[in-house]
């Protein structure tokens, strides 16, 4: 049987949370493609400090939690939930605008 939309979204969100919580702490910490190229080609030192380096979530860690893996896992959990929330908000506004504009002419004057 086909899962309902609510079940599907719930399961998908659980999967995203599980990946952030249990897999991200074990992800590679090597520089990514761009950073590696920057190091190799000698322009990595042109990077400036991030304006939000003082953020309590800076560097995918939760300030105050010293265990590196737990800190990263929790930051991932927060990030996934925040992204879902911001996404719902923005797409919700976009969809509502459509519903409003979709009204037949003359109905809202």
């Amino acid at each position: 049987m086909r899962p309902g939309t609510k079940l599907f979204i719930g399961a998908g969100l659980m999967l995203a949370l599980a990946l952030a919580l249990f897999v991200s702490p074990f992800a590679s910490s090597s520089p990514d493609g761009l950073n590696k190229v920057a190091i190799e080609k000698g322009f990595d030192d042109t990077a400036e400090d991030h304006a939000l380096d003082g953020s309590p979530l800076a560097g995918y860690a939760v300030r105050g939690i010293t265990d590196e893996r737990i800190s990263k896992a929790l930051s991932g959990l927060i990030g996934v939930l925040m992204t879902f929330g911001v996404g719902l908000l923005i797409f919700g506004v976009v969809a509502r605008r459509r519903e409003k504009e979709g009204q037949p002419l003359g109905e809202s004057t």
């Binding site: 992800a27 322009f43 042109t46």
Partner: protein, 231 residues
């Protein structure tokens, strides 16, 4: 792939910011043309999933890693316009994690969101035209499109470096190195994208924007513009 502040000069970053703002403006309008309330959770989920998977850096070569960009994946799942909004939401939240510069946000939206969604979706549609209308073919088309989107995204960075790079390394060398490493990262992007699209197709094919022709509409019928066009 997140560009930190400083790699690209302020003028070029500002230009990319203006281009990105215009692109996202179009994306919001185009998405508003078709997105219904009941489709909002799927779009939110795609953004949240990309945030999670972008944390999963995989090793690509000695001392180098790569991670999903997700623009092509999002484009296949929710369409190219909503897709680039998903990646932009991810980049916005990532600013709180001090990932990707603030003045470089426009550059990152352009490279990781807009370029990947458009290149990914364009390639996906072209492949679907020559491939059979089956679920494995849709997954494969998504995977190949995603791999290509990463390489083109790295070319976009090279172009920005050519215009406003603050480093002294020659443009040709930077471009060659970027394309070289991202060709390998692209394989990972392609595999993750194909697997994810395949997973959604197997349980809820009707939720895949690019799944026209393989999703038997059970209730409301094909809701996305792509599905209506193909009808």
């Amino acid at each position: 792939m997140h560009i930190p502040d400083g790699f690209i000069n302020a003028g070029t970053s500002l230009g990319a910011g203006a281009a990105s703002a215009a692109g996202i403006g179009v994306a919001l309008r185009r998405t508003g043309d078709w997105l219904e309330d009941r489709q909002v959770p799927m779009a939110g989920l795609v953004a949240a999933f990309i945030f999670a998977v972008q944390m999963l850096n995989f090793p690509v070569a000695l001392g180098t890693s790569g991670h999903l960009l997700g623009g092509a994946l999002a484009a296949v799942l929710v369409g190219p316009w909503a897709g680039m909004i998903c990646v932009s939401v991810v980049l916005l939240v990532q600013a709180l994690f001090a990932d990707g510069g603030l003045t470089a946000l426009g550059l990152n939206v352009l490279n990781m969101g807009i370029v990947t969604s458009l290149v990914g979706y364009g390639t996906f549609v072209a492949l679907r035209k020559v491939l059979p209308a089956s679920k494995p073919a849709v997954s494969a088309a998504a995977g190949v499109a995603a791999a290509l989107s990463v390489v083109i995204s790295s070319v976009a960075f090279a172009a920005e470096y050519a215009i406003g790079g603050t480093g002294t390394a020659p443009v040709g060398a930077v471009a060659a190195a970027m394309v070289g490493v991202h060709a390998i990262i692209g394989i990972g992007e392609g595999l993750i994208t194909a697997a994810t699209v395949g997973m959604v197709l197997s349980v809820r094919p009707d939720l895949v924007y690019g799944g026209w022709g393989v999703a038997a509409p059970l209730d409301a019928g094909p809701a996305t513009p792509a599905a209506q066009e193909a009808k």
